[in-house]
Every structure is written in structure tokens, then in C-alpha cells.
């Protein structure tokens, strides 16, 4: 395991009167696949966007590889957003050109190879592609980089179980083993098998950080079971599900 890659200390973020992060603190080391787990609205996307520099925290310290979000951190982060960010006029090959121009760690050959394997025509415009193919292109772009930190925001939300397997396998086969992968999701059972560590987040705070092996060995539970236990809510009208 490497040194500290992500450090957040007392990070606060509000959207108007709505609180997204409330004094969140955490530390993550290099060389791990970490699950950022929490219910909807718990602050997962906000945290990822702050690490990326897409959101500015109201206060608190955020360091990625020892530096505040900026040009350097952006050069080492590979980000998969929760929605497509392409301009419709761009062709797949335009996007590859753009990544090749701006990211030194982008492996064009790998991207071309993945495109061929998935039978994606690089000459196609993004607006002509189906939703699923767009997501695949996005995943190819992200995983064709040899980044120090992969920030994957809900990579398997909204896709069928077969596609989930494909996405997770692609991530596992292609990430830089010296880097860290932070996967945000609430679909625990699907990602559990690939995780080394988990961060439970609720009301904008990290309420638990643990190694997956420790959870299994010490508590005799799967991450999914622990998640359900921690975030259990009583259904309206009472009773158990």
C-alpha cells in the first residue's frame, strides 16, 4: 500500500439552505479499490465533485496527492461522471484526440482496442449513439488512462445486471494497480466483490471507514448486510421488510 492519496479535513458544503457535507473528514491510501457507499442524497457526488474541482467547498481542507484541487490534481484524476458530458457534435475519435492532447497518461492504443472489442465505430457522432454506448465510450475514456486516482460516480446505476458485470470487469482489468479507485454507489451487492475498503457516508459525514476483509472476518457480515443494518429505516406504518 502507498501513502496518503486523499485527505479531507472538516469539509463543509451547502447548496443554499441544504447541507450536503457537514464537516466531512477522511484519509485514503494509494493502491486500493474503495467503495463510497451511502443512500441517495448522502453527499457522495458532492464529495467526488469537490475532489475533482467541479465544486468549491465552503470550508475545510481537501488534498489530493498532497495538493489542493488544481491543474496537477486534474492531471492525475480520471473521472467518470454520473451523466454524459460530451458535446453531441463530437465523434468518438474527437474525444480520443482530446484526451490524447490533454492527458499524458491516456493510452490511445488501449482506447482503440477497447472500442474494437465493443464494436463501437469511432467515426460515429456522440449524438447518434445509444445511451448505453455513450456510457461505454465514457468508461473507455476513463479506464484508458493510467491515473493515480479514478473517481467513478455511480458507474453501474441505471444499467442492467449483465452490463454491470461488464463495467466492473472493465474497471478491474484496466485500472492502474498503483492508483486508487473510488467507486460511489448504493448498489452494494454488485460492487462488493471488487472492493478492498468501504466508506459509509450519511448526512455529509463519514460514519464508518473499514476494510472489507475486516467486516467479513470480525463481524461475519457482507458489506451489503452491514449497509442495510447501518442505513435501515423503519417503513412508513412500521414493520420489517
Amino acid at each position: 500500500m502507498g501513502g496518503i492519496l486523499i485527505q479531507c479535513q472538516d469539509v463543509w458544503k451547502n447548496y443554499g439552505s441544504q447541507r450536503a457535507l457537514q464537516g466531512l473528514s477522511l484519509q485514503l491510501e494509494s493502491g486500493k479499490i474503495v467503495g463510497l457507499l451511502g443512500p441517495n442524497g448522502s453527499g457522495k457526488t458532492t464529495l467526488i465533485k469537490i475532489l475533482n474541482g467541479l465544486l468549491t467547498p465552503d470550508r475545510g481542507l481537501v488534498l489530493v496527492d498532497g495538493q489542493e484541487p488544481g491543474v496537477y490534481t486534474k492531471s492525475i484524476i480520471s473521472y467518470l461522471p454520473d451523466k454524459p458530458y460530451f458535446a453531441g457534435w463530437m465523434k468518438v475519435t474527437d474525444l480520443f484526440d482530446l484526451f490524447e492532447d490533454f492527458y499524458e497518461d491516456f493510452d490511445r492504443e488501449k482506447a482503440d482496442h477497447m472500442c474494437r472489442a465493443l464494436q463501437i465505430d469511432e467515426g460515429q457522432r456522440m449524438k447518434a449513439l445509444s445511451k448505453g454506448t455513450k456510457e461505454k465510450v465514457q468508461l473507455i475514456l476513463v479506464m484508458s488512462r493510467r491515473a493515480k486516482l479514478y473517481l467513478l460516480d455511480e458507474p453501474i446505476a441505471g444499467v442492467d445486471p449483465a452490463a454491470r458485470d461488464y463495467i466492473l470487469t472493465t474497471i478491474l482489468n484496466n485500472y492502474n494497480p498503483e492508483g486508487t479507485v473510488l467507486i460511489s454507489t448504493h448498489l452494494i451487492s454488485d460492487v462488493e466483490r471488487v472492493l478492498d475498503e468501504v466508506l459509509f457516508i450519511q448526512y455529509g459525514q463519514v460514519i464508518r471507514q473499514a476494510l472489507v476483509d475486516d467486516i467479513r472476518e470480525r463481524e461475519g457480515k457482507s458489506v451489503d448486510e452491514l449497509f442495510r443494518e447501518v442505513f435501515r429505516t423503519v417503513p412508513f406504518g412500521g414493520g420489517e421488510w
Partner: protein, 284 residues
Amino acid sequence: MLKKLIKYDLKSMSRAFIPMWILAPVVSLLLSFSIRGTIAWANSSIPGRQMLTLGNGILTAVMVILFIGAGMGLLIMTVVFVIQRFWNGLLKEEGYLMFTLPVKTWELIVSKAVTATLISSISAVVGVFSAIILAVCSTEEVVRTLAMAWKYFLSYLIHVDPIFWIDLVLFILVLVAGTVKSIYHVYAAMSLGHLFQTHKVVGSCVSYIGISMVVSIITNIIGTVVSLALPDDWTYYWGFTYREGMFGMLSAAYLLYMLVFALLETMVYHVITERILSTKLNLE
């Protein structure tokens, strides 16, 4: 990195503009032929020429509408694109891509401004070129008048005061600086609108008007101070100096003031935009 950003911005903008840049002169050329035909028929003594003239007149009217449409389209497209490329390209989903590139925020802004200035300038040149085509190809009369005007202009240039050339260069610089300033004005307004929690578009419009009002107040103050500083009978001296061939100096001074003011405005707008997008970016 800035060069690479400009390359991508130019690519995204030019693909929509190139057809308009081709269409505008082609339409004016067709329109000029149509006008020429109408005049020729009207002047001819062929029996039934009225019907033919009417047909040609209708065709000319259609071409005029097309020409005005192309001109308006070019103008509206330019304004819309300047706004849209900044709004969608940086402050909406595409901003996820642009703001995660390892480049400085000022580079993103300057890239958009350079591209928008280039596109606006080319559109303006195409507009003027189309109008010239229309005028030159319509009638012999226009060609003769223009030739005379050009001849007169050339003969004027021989005797012209050297200050004229300074005025001309300053005038062109003021035009370019004015375009850049107007683009940055829109950028600053959109960045201020981005600070609003909700109704960001309304916030941007309000900011645009607010900035315009502030600039108007400042220019009025400067104007008042300058007029108070000048002697009461300065207009008399103006008339005097005009006779002495010093008119160019006065206009050069005014153009220089406009240029400096436009550059200052641009700098202020750039700083506002850059600071907001660097320290207050919120791509929710």
C-alpha cells in the same frame, strides 16, 4: 495548452458557421443578379414586359428576404453562439469535461473569448463582403458610383494628414477591442449569474443590465469631469483647430480614450469571470 483549447473551441464553433459564411455571399450574388434582371426588363421595350418585370420583382423580393434573413441569421447566430459556447461549454454538463482538463481556468476563458472574437470578426467581414457583392453586382450605376467614390478616396489619401492613418489604425483597434469587451461583458454576467442558487439565467440577465448601468454611470462621470475641466469656449477652439487640420488629433485622442476604456473594461470583466470560476465554481 491554450492553443489546444482554442483548436477545439474553433472546431466546435466553425462547423456551425461555415455554412452561413458560404450562404451569405452566395445569396447576395443571386440577389444582385435578380435586381439586375428586374432593372433590365423594366428598361426594355419587349411586349408583355410588365408581366416579366412583375415575375422578376417577386423573385427579387424573395431574394431580399433571403438576404436579410441570412444577415440576421448570421448576427443572431453569432450572439447566440457566443453565449451558448460559454454557458453550455463551461457552466453546464460539458463543463464537467472542460473543468476536469488539467488546464488553468484563465486558459478556458481566454480560449472561449479568442474563438468568439474570431468568429464574430469573420461574421462581420462576411456581412460587409456580402453587402459589397450585392452593391457591385446589382447595377452599372452602383458600380460607377462606387468607382467614383474610390477614385475620390484615393485622391484624398494623397493629401491626407498623417494623423489620418493613426486614426484609422486606432479605429480598427477600437472595433476589435469593443468586440472583445462585449464578449467579456457577457461572460462576466454569466459568471455572476452562476453565483445565484436558482434562476441562474435570470441572474445572468440582471447582472448584464447591472454591469451596463455601472459602466454607464462611470462614463457619465468621466464625461462630466472632462467637460468641467475643459474651458467653456473649447468648442470654438475645436472649430479653429479643425481648420488648422488638427481635427485628426482630437479624434485620435478620443479613439485612444475609447481603446483604453475598452481594454480596462475587458480586464475587469476577465478578473471577475476568472475569480468566480476559480473560487466559486459550482457545477451541481
